[in-house]
Amino acid sequence: MSEAIVITSGKGGVGKTTSTANIGTYLAMKGYKVALVDTDIGLRNLDVVMGLENRIVYDIVDVVEGQCRLKQALIKDKRFDGLYLLPAAQTRDKSAVTPEQMQKLIGDLKEEFDYILVDCPAGIEQGFRNAIAGADRAIIITTPEVSAVRDADRIIGLLEAAELHNPKLVINRIKMDMVKRGDMMDIEDIIDILAIDLLGVIPDDESIIISSNKGEPIVMDERSLAGQAYKNLVERLLGNNVPLINLDMGNGFMDRLKKLFKLA
């Protein structure tokens, strides 16, 4: 049984692309056949986060327009068996693809892959409608900020209207030291407001920037806390009951010392 999952947020810059890359990569590491689909036509980035930008020949618009076969446009990630990327077009705009074409494309991908992860563009216009068109499930990414949570709420409403029910929430870039000081909304605050199920919490982690500098998803880094958080998130996505990891690492001297010796 294959499944198409759209990763969306409303607001830009909250971590949709990074999340798509990491969820997909870890699913592939676990042995699933995974297609990552970048639907951010005109502003593609999933290729860069995955480190596959130099291997693009054809893109999603070429496929829907029949300029190439689907298999020709899929870039195989040589690091992991079964991981493929369908890149967005960079020199076209959102209207180059219709929701009907997306539905057909996802249907075709389902014949080959276990999971199709659709990276949604920011906004609620045609790009969003394209991205959710063929999806069975939705993951909403937010950060603990008023603007991001507000946009997430709007997206929840729009998904409901599109009959994509029961979306799951990922809270990204949480800083536990700020939460402790009372200067950042906590997990419970956000769940309280949005009233949807939590899929995972990703700590704010410098290693994410380093990993995107290198084009290597953070789940490849065994020592990263954010990488571990993404792995746990994927386990929950697969229906396994994994508790939230303790993000409360602190930043005091002793905490850093413990971190250094990997005690915490």
Binding site: V146, R150, R154, G157, G182, D189, I193
Partner: protein
């Protein structure tokens, strides 16, 4: 453990964020088109007119937010209907 929290009180920026969000979302979630309100207005008018004479020009229907006892906010349909006179026949 949360010794400091109790001193922090309501001045935490997180509490401000949460309260602002709650208010904002009540408004966002209740955001309806003028056409929708016009439809409600017309239907209310039709029903109430059976019982009372209404000053149609003064009729005002809007969606507002109301604070509930548990300190959360909820959208409320607020209708201000000026009555000219009651219809005696039915009363």
């Amino acid at each position: 453990m949360d010794l400091f929290k109790s001193f922090g009180g309501k001045n935490n920026s997180k509490d401000i964020a949460k309260e602002r969000l709650q208010l904002l979302l009540v408004h966002d979630r209740a955001d309806v088109s003028p056409k929708f309100l016009e439809m409600i207005k017309e239907d209310i008018l039709n029903v109430i007119s059976n019982y009372v004479d209404i000053d149609e020009a003064g009729l005002n229907v809007e969606i507002t937010k109301e604070k509930r006892s548990d300190n959360t906010y909820m959208p409320a349909l607020h209708a201000n209907i000026p009555i000219k006179k009651m219809k005696q026949v039915i009363r």
